[in-house]
Amino acid sequence: MNYIPISDKDKKEMFDSIGVKDTQELLSLQIPETLRVKKLNLDKGMSEQELISLFKQYAQKNKSNLACFRGAGIYDHFVPSIVDEIIGRSEFWTAYTPYQAEASQGTLQAIFEYQSVICELTGMECSNASMYDGATAVAEALLLAVRASRKNKIILSKALNPEYISVIETYTKNLNIEIIKIDIDSKTGAINKENLSGMLDESVAAVIVQSPNFFGTIEDMQELSKTAKDKKALFVAVVNPVSLGLLKTPGEYGADIAVGEGQVFGNQMYLGGSTFGFMAVTKALEWKMPGRIVGQTVDKDGKRGFVLTLQSREQHIRREKATSNICTNAALNSFAACVYAAYLGSQGIKELSETNISKARYAFDKIKNIKGFVPLFENSLFFNEFVFKTDKNIDKINEELMKENILGPLDLGKIDSKYKNCVMFAVTEKRTKQEIDKLAEILTRV
């Protein structure tokens, strides 16, 4: 298959118009012969039927559709059918970046609605059109904070998702930015406000805290934000949209930048990508924000319409002075979140939050009663994820669970040796009582 709808007769006419006799002659007008490659050493092309059967073979080599108790940044939430149906419409799916506004009102309004959803969820004033993922969104938030404050010292929670920390380290590698990490309290699993206060002075550009943090613990964002702002540092909140149905919004506790991973809203796990990152800021930071932004305006006749706006921040205009290099972002993934949020509504999102908390609590209580499992943080207030210390063989546990099509907890020791013998469970609304009971039963038995 090659998807070329041109006949030999067409081709002949085209060559005549160009004034060459064949492709060889045409290419020789541009490319010196010595630079040409003879042929590509790839397999022969395939028919559609062959292709499907090849990918079915790949598919069968995966163990899929497991009852998933693993999270750590990517979560197994239910995606309603309406999401795929709407974002899958070719008007959205195959459209280009909406540079020609008048012919792209659908995409532009979709982004505007998305920005509105993010502002509503986070309580912030301005959202961009999306970032690549949660990790890059946090890294760009850090760069934004440095730009806006003209200071270069950042305090970062050690309980930020470790993948995000790695990305931040990569992004800041060649820039003159100093990063100081703040640890969590070993009893509460959360950052201690006095500790933060002790590390802060007016040379700090921003404090970056995730809540629920990597270990699932809900941080006291109100206090941490206040502590940061007392020393004129910006406060960057890394949040999980699913938790915002119940928890205070970043806007309410005075965050300057709210960012996070959006996969949890309407996107399948897909091996961790593609997802999207969201970023929302206060009005004061609007012109400093990276990425595309859609604004509402009117046309010549005064009719409501949408355009890409504040573009003089962006690379296609400002080149090396742009607020970021981002161009293509994650439009479809963010649109999925928009459809998801609209479908659930604010009451639905609140119920989603509650179901996550209550199912996680049910699982936590069950596991707490199993011999050999002790909560790592005795006083942790958690959302839908929590950590246990265990003296059992973690590999063996996960092997046994896998036999029953359960994806067991994450072995934290494999991520950070400090957390050897610790396992982290995620429990979303999708897990049933039967699945949780089965999990507990196997944990007891192994």
Binding site: N2, Y3, P5, I6, S7, D10, S17, I18, T23, L27, I31, L35, V37, K39, L40, L42, G45, M46, A59, K61, N62, L66, C68, R70, A72, Y96, Q100, A103, T107, D133, T136, N161, E163, T170, N174, E261, Q268, M269, Y270, G272, G273, S274, G295, T297, V298, K300, G305, V307, T309, S312, E314, Q315, A322, N325, C327, T328, N329, A331, M402, L407
Partner: protein, 410 residues
């Protein structure tokens, strides 16, 4: 039709979409053990391997999420390479015809940008390059064919100058659709490159993503690649993590935009080596065909032939005070998405046309006729062109007001 220069809006095959929806792929958690995701890892491995063959590079990472993210990755790799060698190099040369993401990515990577003026034919001149080359230069970024749709024919000389200077050559693969099976970037002197899977390899744009911007390197840069990459050992596929000190680290969480990776892999498997070569050749023929029909009416800085796209200047071709923007808007009235306009920046009143190989001759003919009609109309009936579009859901939108008093949500 979406004749968008630099964007390669080709047909998005349905079968690839169908395969990407298999639950065996969509329901995989990134922290499952490798044993339980062999199928997904194999697809990634296959794509890494095929991209190596297509580009001539030795290794690929699939982690970057888009073209600009790929550039950023590539430039960090270059910075890391010199750091590992204990060599201080602070500058990146970027031709003035380059896309805005090039200088922006270089700045983000901590480099200073040296802008290089193109010669009168819109290509890089070795003479001018010599003037800016010195021991501070880490690398030069090039798009080849460049953004005017012209193959940089002095590439061998440029490559020699760059490498003799101890610098590296970066390839922006946005225009790879022109040269598959014709030229391999690694063979003609490039050391690092990114590919836009959402352009050359047929995955849909989705109104602005998700994309994927894999980065390929020559063997001497292997240890700088981000982690993890997929390797094959004893017939098993594994995620391999590079040494933390020598590698740039991680560009995004997890491994890459998997559905995009899968669709690109499926595309390559469907076409095979011969099909990919045919695709590039036809893309070049289609662009030259349009060029042949327009060149008597407009200025084409590239001259009489081009690769898979060409930039033209509408300056002097239009009536009264009609601008390229007006022509673009009038195309919308006629049912076409407008070509890229005002890019590259070095062409005045630029319009940049890339038809791709997947349009029929009939479609191309209709497009040519429409464009010629509009150019004529700009002289005989300028008001109509100036007032366009009228057939879209809204008329011309007030962008100035949108930026002056931003309303960014309900």
């Amino acid at each position: 039709m979406y004749p968008l220069g630099s964007c390669t809006m080709k047909h998005n095959p349905l079968v690839n979409e169908k395969i990407a929806k298999f639950e065996e792929f969509s329901s995989i958690h990134p922290y499952q053990n490798e044993e339980s995701m062999q199928g997904s890892l194999e697809i990634m491995y296959e794509l890494q391997k095929d991209l190596c063959e297509i580009s001539g590079m030795d290794y690929f990472t699939l982690q970057p999420a888009a073209g600009a993210h790929g550039e950023y990755t590539g430039l960090l790799i270059i910075a890391q390479y010199f750091k590992n060698k204990n060599e201080k190099r602070t500058k990146i040369i970027v031709p003035d015809s380059a896309h805005g993401t090039n200088p922006a990515s270089a700045a983000l990577s901590g480099f200073e940008i040296v802008s290089l003026k193109s010669d009168e034919n819109g290509i890089v001149s070795p003479e001018k390059l010599k003037e800016v080359l010195n021991s501070d230069v880490a690398a030069m970024m090039m798009t080849n064919p460049n953004t005017l749709g012209v193959f940089e024919k002095n590439i061998e000389e440029i490559s020699k100058l760059i490498h003799d200077n101890g610098s590296l050559l970066y390839y922006d693969g946005a225009n790879l659709n022109a040269v598959m099976g014709i030229v391999r970037p690694a063979d003609i002197g490039f050391d690092v490159m990114h590919i836009n899977l959402h352009k050359t390899f047929s995955t849909p744009h989705g109104g602005g993503g998700p994309g994927s911007g894999p980065v390929g390197v020559k063997a001497f840069l292997k240890e700088c690649l981000p982690s993890p990459v997929v390797i094959k050992e004893d017939n098993k596929f594994k995620l391999y993590f590079n040494d933390g000190k020598k590698s740039i680290g991680r560009m995004k969480a997890f491994y890459g935009n998997f559905p995009v990776i899968l669709k690109a892999c499926a595309y390559i498997k469907s076409l095979g080596g011969e099909g990919l070569t045919q695709a590039s050749k036809q893309a070049v023929i289609n662009a030259n065909y349009i060029l042949s029909k327009l060149k008597s009416k407009v200025k084409v800085p590239a001259g009489n032939s081009c690769m898979h796209e060409f930039a033209m200047s509408l300056k002097g071709a239009l009536g009264g005070d009609i601008k390229t923007l007006d022509v673009a808007k009038r195309l919308l009235d006629n049912g076409y998405y407008a070509p890229t306009i005002y890019f590259p920046l070095i062409v005045e009143e630029a319009m940049m046309i890339e038809p791709t190989e997947t349009e029929s001759k009939q479609t191309l003919d209709e497009f040519i006729e429409t464009l010629l009609n509009i150019i004529e109309e700009s002289k005989t009936n300028p008001e109509v062109v100036h007032n366009a579009p009228v057939n879209t859901s809204v008329k011309r939108l007030n962008e100035v007001e949108a930026a002056r008093k931003p309303k960014l949500h309900w």
